[in-house]
């Protein structure tokens, strides 16, 4: 067994039965402290469900999830709250509160979970907004007034405002133009380096996978078909993985990568 301090999340024998089908049959996965782990898989392979289970939003049918060395399904509300303060989440649709301005959105977790004075809250929230690469003028705007890319950045700013040890990113680069997406990748790497984050990133974006991840877990057929670095994972002979990475789009990227 790996030492507990190495692993920030440890999933064992996870089974999920939803809507008459087994979404996950048997999932074993451990995520190490400080790494960037990508979770990929075809559409409907249960990537988002897995994230929701780690976040405690969906209860797995059986199996255990240990996070920060706490068993999640058996955690008392107090323990759950301390866990929740230590992670940040960027949802697929950003999930910004539409009735609050960006600054209020980002300062919300600070108001809820710390006892800072108003000025410090505002300054720290503004710092995170700037760190996420947003202009200061955006701070007083409502989410509906921001473009898609800015909304993603705003979601990220809110996810990192409590300086979490662990962040979850669900499709962070979907719907962004290649340039913005590349900028987003750099930002994630930057944040990871400076703040020592552990990042769990669910994505279909092969460019992102090559650029930012340390390891990638491939979900399919209800199990983890492979966990490895991108270089090794693309060599995996499993037909699902081959089709995913070596399809018409995947091959292209690998080709580019070889050229460098």
């Amino acid at each position: 067994m790996t030492t507990s301090s190495d692993c920030i999340i440890e999933i064992k024998k996870l089974r999920t039965h939803l809507g008459g089908t087994d979404v996950h049959k048997h999932i074993d996965l451990s995520i190490k402290r400080g790494e960037i782990l990508g979770i990929v898989g075809g559409s409907g392979s249960g990537k988002t469900t897995l994230m929701y289970e780690i976040l405690g939003l969906i209860k797995p049918t059986s199996g255990t999830i240990h996070i920060f060395n706490h068993e999640l399904t058996a955690a008392s509300p107090d323990i759950l709250l301390t866990i929740q303060k230590r992670w940040g989440v960027l949802f697929q649709q950003n999930a910004l509160f539409s009735s609050l301005t960006l600054l209020e959105n980002v300062s919300f977790p600070l108001f809820e979970h710390t006892c800072l004075d108003q000025v410090s809250v505002q300054e720290l929230a503004l710092l995170k907004i700037l760190m996420a690469g947003l202009p200061i003028e955006a701070a007083i705007k409502y989410p509906a007034e921001l473009s898609g890319g800015m909304q993603k950045r705003a979601g990220l700013a809110r996810a990192i405002v409590l300086d979490p040890e662990l962040i979850f990113l669900d499709e962070p680069t979907s719907g962004l133009d290649p340039d913005t997406a590349a900028g987003f990748d750099e930002m994630i790497l930057n944040l990871q380096r400076t703040m020592g984050l552990t990042v769990v990133i669910i994505t279909h974006d092969l460019d992102s996978l090559w650029r930012v991840t340390d390891r990638v877990a491939f979900l399919g057929e209800g199990v983890v078909l492979g966990v490895d670095t991108m270089q090794n994972l693309v060599k995996n002979p499993h037909p699902l993985i081959r089709n995913f990475f070596l399809g018409p789009r995947g091959r292209n990227i690998q080709h580019n990568d070889n050229k460098h």
């Binding site: 720290l124 989410p143 300086d163 020592g196």
Partner: protein, 372 residues
């Protein structure tokens, strides 16, 4: 200063030794400690970070903010012996804060300006509503000539959900109103021994006023709000835009079936309420005023002319148009946030009930002028 403190200031060597945990949990305490230090008037100061166990961006921000503040008083802070990651963090924050300009203020309007703004807003909304009604009329004219575009499925589902499914609640409501009216009036009539006149009073008030008005108010709360919420969610979800791009106007598929559906339902519901209102009155008259079923039913057609019933029923289509058009208009003018759905749903119900009562008052005046 005790040894556990996170900040130790050595005045002789001009050193500030930071230690322990510099994170969000200790932020208020750290901030307080930094204010307590007797900073020198000028010169250089070395900040030693070798003993810092853990530093996150809030701790780093605190140091950078202090550095900025002291720079204005000619005191330079130099960061030394920070780990590599901490140094990058400090640099990033330093760089970001340099970009930072003053947060633009949200301008607050004076009360007079607010009044003017609101007036203009209402004025614009009135025009928007009128053009909404106008475009629907045009849409209607277009559809009359194209029966293939009549959405009978949507229409029947509107009638089912907002007419048929409302039958029990409307019946119960009308029955209780009949009971209450008979009870209150019966107490007075009994004093004069004029028990039998309860039939006149009941028939007139229920058929002409109470049942159309109460049914309309009930339906405004039940149906008008659901129209607004449905269309509002569809607007937010871009479903309305999707329909528009597919060459199907939302008016044809969504709005007209709702308006026409309610136009058909509400008179029927009013008639339904008439029946139960009178029934409630009849039960009460029987038990309290000793008027037999037979007496009640044989006197009723003699004292209540058909006209009373028709006037009551005649108001219902107008109320239906008010409820459905306001409900749909508010739904279509939802902005893309959750607040707006709630606000517009409230507005939809309040405005509908308001205009129902205004219309009812107008009807009373018109009918009295016409001596009906």
């Amino acid at each position: 200063m005790s040894a556990q403190e996170n900040v130790i200031y050595d005045q002789e060597t001009q050193q500030l030794i930071c230690q322990g945990e510099w994170d969000l949990t200790h932020f208020p305490h750290l901030k307080y400690l930094l204010t307590k230090i007797a900073w020198p008037k000028s010169g250089k100061l070395i900040v030693d970070g070798s003993a810092i166990k853990k530093m996150d961006s809030s701790g780093a921000w605190l140091l950078i903010a202090k550095q900025d503040e002291l720079k204005k008083h000619n005191v330079d802070l130099l960061f030394q012996h920070f780990s590599e990651a901490q140094q990058t963090l400090l640099q990033i924050i330093q760089k970001r804060l340099k970009d930072k300009t003053q947060l633009p203020k949200i301008q607050l309007l004076s009360s007079l300006a607010t009044l003017g703004k609101n007036t203009l807003q209402q004025w614009h909304e009135l025009f928007a509503y009128l053009s909404f009604v106008g475009s629907l009329c045009l849409e209607m004219l277009r559809l009359i000539r194209a029966p293939a575009h009549w959405r009978l499925t949507s229409l029947s589902s509107v009638i089912y959900r907002n007419g048929y499914q409302a039958l029990p609640i409307i019946a119960l409501l009308a029955f209780m109103i009949g009971v209450v009216i008979t009870y209150q009036l019966g107490l007075q009539l009994r004093n004069y021994g004029a028990n039998v006149y309860i039939i006149d009073l009941l028939g007139l008030s229920i058929l002409r006023e109470f049942s159309p008005l109460l049914t309309a108010i009930m339906v405004a709360g039940r149906t008008g709000s659901s129209f607004t919420a449905q269309l509002g969610m569809m607007t937010i979800n871009q479903e309305i835009d999707a329909l528009d791009t597919m060459g199907v106007t939302p008016g044809e598929l969504l709005i007209l079936p709702r308006i026409i559906g309610l136009f058909i339902c509400l008179p029927l519901l009013t008639m339904w309420a008439d029946i139960f209102g009178v029934l409630g009155g009849m039960v009460m008259a029987n038990s309290m005023l000793n008027i037999t079923w037979h007496d009640f039913l044989s006197r009723f057609p003699n004292v209540i002319p058909l006209r009373t019933f028709l006037i009551g029923i005649g108001k219902a289509p107008v109320f239906a148009l008010i409820i459905a058009s306001i409900g749909c208009f508010q739904g279509m003018s939802v902005e893309r946030n959750a607040d707006s759905v709630g606000r517009n749903t409230t507005r939809s119900v309040v405005l509908a009930i308001f205009f129902i009562i205004v219309a009812d008052a107008a009807f009373s005046i018109i009918f009295s002028k016409l001596k009906l």
